[in-house]
C-alpha cells in the first residue's frame, strides 16, 4: 500500500503515457537516422556510396550528359555508410521516417538526380564535377575565388596550375 500510493499519485498528475501519434505529431529524436537525401550540386561522382551500400540501394547510371544517382528507399537500411563515406557531403540522413506507402507507389520511392559532367575552363575537355565542400577540404586556407578557379579545371590542368614544372611559366 505504501509503495502503491506514490505511483497512483504520480499517475494522476502525469497523464497518459501513450503518444498521440496518428492523431498528432510524433516525437522524433534530433539524431534520428531515416530517409537519405541527395544534393546533386555537391556530388563528385566518386561512386563510393554505391560501393559501400550493403543493400545495393544506390545505383549510378550512365546518361548522355552525366551520371544519374538513384537511391531506392525501399532497399535502404538507414545504416549511414554512404553518408559517412561521402567526402563531398552530397548525402545526408534526414529525420523523415514517414516512408510507409501503398503498393502502387512502391517503385516511386526513389531519390534521383542527374549529376552532369562539366567542361574544363582551361583545356575544354569533359571532366567530373569538383564540388565545393570537397575542394575546400583539399585546399584548406585558400581564398574562395582561387578555389572557384581551380574547381572549374580538369585534374590535369589543376595539377599543372598548382604545381608548375620548373622553368615553365604557370
Amino acid at each position: 500500500m505504501s509503495f502503491f500510493l506514490p505511483v497512483l499519485l504520480r499517475n494522476l498528475f502525469q497523464g497518459p503515457s501513450t503518444e498521440a501519434f496518428p492523431f498528432a505529431e510524433a516525437y522524433t529524436p534530433a539524431a534520428m537516422r531515416a530517409r537519405v537525401s541527395f544534393n546533386p550540386d555537391s556530388c563528385a561522382l566518386c561512386r563510393v556510396c554505391a560501393r559501400m551500400c550493403p543493400a545495393g540501394a544506390i545505383q549510378l547510371e550512365k546518361r548522355p550528359d552525366g551520371l544519374e544517382f538513384i537511391l531506392w528507399h525501399n532497399a535502404c537500411v538507414f545504416c549511414g555508410l554512404c553518408v559517412h563515406y561521402c567526402d563531398s557531403e552530397a548525402l545526408h540522413q534526414t529525420d523523415d521516417w514517414h516512408l510507409s506507402h501503398l503498393q502502387a507507389e512502391k517503385y516511386a520511392m526513389v531519390e534521383k538526380a542527374v549529376v552532369k559532367f562539366q567542361k574544363c575552363s582551361t583545356c575544354g575537355k569533359q571532366k567530373m564535377p569538383a564540388p565545393l565542400p570537397l575542394m575546400a577540404k583539399l585546399y584548406p586556407g585558400l581564398p574562395a575565388d582561387e578555389i572557384e578557379r581551380l574547381r572549374a579545371m580538369c585534374p590535369q590542368c589543376r595539377k599543372a596550375e598548382s604545381a608548375p614544372v620548373q622553368g615553365e611559366t604557370p
Binding site: E19, F21, P22, A55, S100, Q103, K106
Partner: protein, 147 residues
Amino acid sequence: MNAIKPSLASRLSTKSPWLYRINAGSCNGCDVELATTAIIPRYDVERLGCQYCGSPKHADIVLITGPLTARVKDKVLRLFDEIPEPKVTVAVGVCPISGGVFRESYAIAGPLDKYIPIDVNIPGCPPRPQAIIEGIAKAIAVWQSRI
C-alpha cells in the same frame, strides 16, 4: 436507391480489424518492433481498434516480416491461403519489400510481391513503431474500402 444496407455486425467490424503476424524468415528486428507497437503503452496500436490474434482464420490485416527465405516460402504461402478474404497485406521492413541486405541471395525466394499481393509497404530496418502505426492506419483505410 435500393442499395443493400450492410448489417450491423459488418458495419461495426470495419472499426476493429484483427492483425496477424507472419514471420517469413525475419531477423526478428521487425517482430520486436511489432511487439513494441502492440504491447508498450507508449505506442499502443489497439487505440486504432486493432488487436493481434493467434489464428490466421481470425485475421483481417496480415503483417509480414522477413525476406521470404526459400525454406519458409511454402509454409508462408499455405498460411496466407488460410486467411479469409477480404484481407489486407502489409509488408513490414525492407526485407519483404525488396529483400533488403539479403537481396539476390541464394537462400531468398522473395521479394514477397512475386507470390502474394501486397497492399501497404512500411520500409525501414526496422521501421520505428510510429512508422508501423502509420502503415497500419493506411492498411485500415484500404480494408474499410474493401469490406
